[in-house]
Amino acid sequence: MKRSLLVPALMVLFGCGGDGGGGTADEAPQAAVAPLGTATVSGVVSFEGTPPANPAIDMAEEPSCTMAHDNAPTDPQVVVTGGKLGNVFIRVMSGLPAGPYPAPAGPAVIDQQGCLYTPRVLGVVVNQQLEIRNSDSLLHNIKAVPTENRGFNISQPTAGMQTRRQFATPEIMVPIECNVHGWMKAYVGVVSHPYFATSGMDGAFRIGGLPAGTYTLEAWHEVFGRRTAEVTVGDGETASVAFTFTAG
């Protein structure tokens, strides 16, 4: 509850009102919250080999959702575009000064659209609000099944509903699922600091606002598991990191 006092203070200090949870590389929004430095780490996640086909989703029972998709919908477990892998969650695993890092004032947003979660993979800082929105005119059930945190199991029966929840302990990753539409899955990385990003459809990611130093980065993908990489970066510099996942 003391967080409620902190939130307006942080907003003034850092001029932050941004939606924190964006999953694309070019936003790098988390870094803007508490910039300890001016170093940036960016890179691309590549994929080698033939990506497995995503399973088809039979949305026949929800015509309004089927209509939201141009093509026959598939479960976007593996998103590979031109050899680049999207929906990879990359975070600084070690090398940062000891925290604590305050949670950003704004919430990270996850939306339910056309019976899919958007974004599918996102990160929040510990105790940052996660705002769950429903853009579908039907009932979604949102169930988080964390191992380290307190889970929740709530529902949103109508379009336009918003619910906020938060996680108190770092956890990679908290699975979110809709039990009404069993195919709906999302993953939330709960991190103790704001230095994380999700690779975009082009595989690119960017983590800014870091202090100079040497860091171990970890990349997580729901199908292909984890990779780590080391990187050293100085003030004002941008260091490049590459992750590569392979089929099978």
Partner: protein
């Protein structure tokens, strides 16, 4: 007020409905007799000046009659119901040639697994469909029903089928449908936030169409694997 049941399309639906209408007639008669007597007494024996109630403590013969008659009637209802119950749920009621389907309920969906063209579970031609049950007409079907999480209840109103799906238990529930078509399937046991959405469809197809459907679905799903 409509007291009729919606049309039933399984072999035992008519038996269940007959029991229902029998009980409806018996209880309806009892209802009319009791309520009419009550109203009549209230009017006939209303308090009027100069009338005194009869000082009367009861009558053993009346007691015996209205003990014995309901007892006989309800035991008769019980025996008749028992016969139909045995036909549907008795130990040997499931026809040996029934087509098996595995239904696993979970929050909030029905996952029906078919043995594929080879008729055996656990082989590579098995496949699973969500919220949709496809069964052949005029053929006994046995659903091996279980649940992965909480208690659900498989309710197919038109078949007069209702059976709880209990985690940790597999219950065999059978039916034989008499008409092709699409019928509603629902969950009848409160199972959580999405209980209300836990519906589905049962598609009843001709026997040869069912065999074809098994092959097509099995190979289609094998291809997408």
């Amino acid at each position: 007020m409509d007291w009729t049941l919606p049309p039933g399309v399984s072999t035992f639906a008519a038996d269940i409905d007959r029991m229902y209408y029998l009980i409806l007639w018996i209880t309806g008669a009892a209802f009319v007799i009791v309520e009419a007597t009550l109203v009549w007494f209230l009017i006939r024996y209303r308090s009027r000046p100069g009338r005194k109630a009869r000082y009367y403590h009861g009558n053993l013969r009346a007691e015996v009659i209205w003990t014995a008659v309901p007892a006989v009637v309800v035991v008769m209802i019980g025996i008749m119901s028992g016969g139909v119950w045995n036909e549907i749920r008795g130990r040997d009621s499931i026809p040996p040639n029934a087509v098996p389907i595995e239904v696993r309920a979970k929050q909030f969906e029905w996952n029906a697994t078919y043995p594929g063209p080879d008729g055996a579970f656990g082989t590579t031609d098995d496949f699973t469909a969500r919220n949709r049950l496809t069964v052949p007409v005029d053929t006994p079907v046995v659903v091996r029903l279980t649940s992965e999480d909480v208690i659900h209840s498989l309710f197919i109103p038109a078949f007069r089928v209702k059976q709880d799906a209990v985690p940790g238990m597999t219950v065999n529930v059978w039916f034989q449908v008499t008409e092709t078509g699409e019928y509603a399937l629902a969950c009848a046991e409160l199972c959580g936030n999405g209980h209300t959405t836990m519906g589905g469809t049962v598609e009843v197809v001709a026997q040869d169409a069912y065999a074809r459907w098994l092959e097509v679905e099995s190979s289609r799903r094998a291809a997408s694997r």
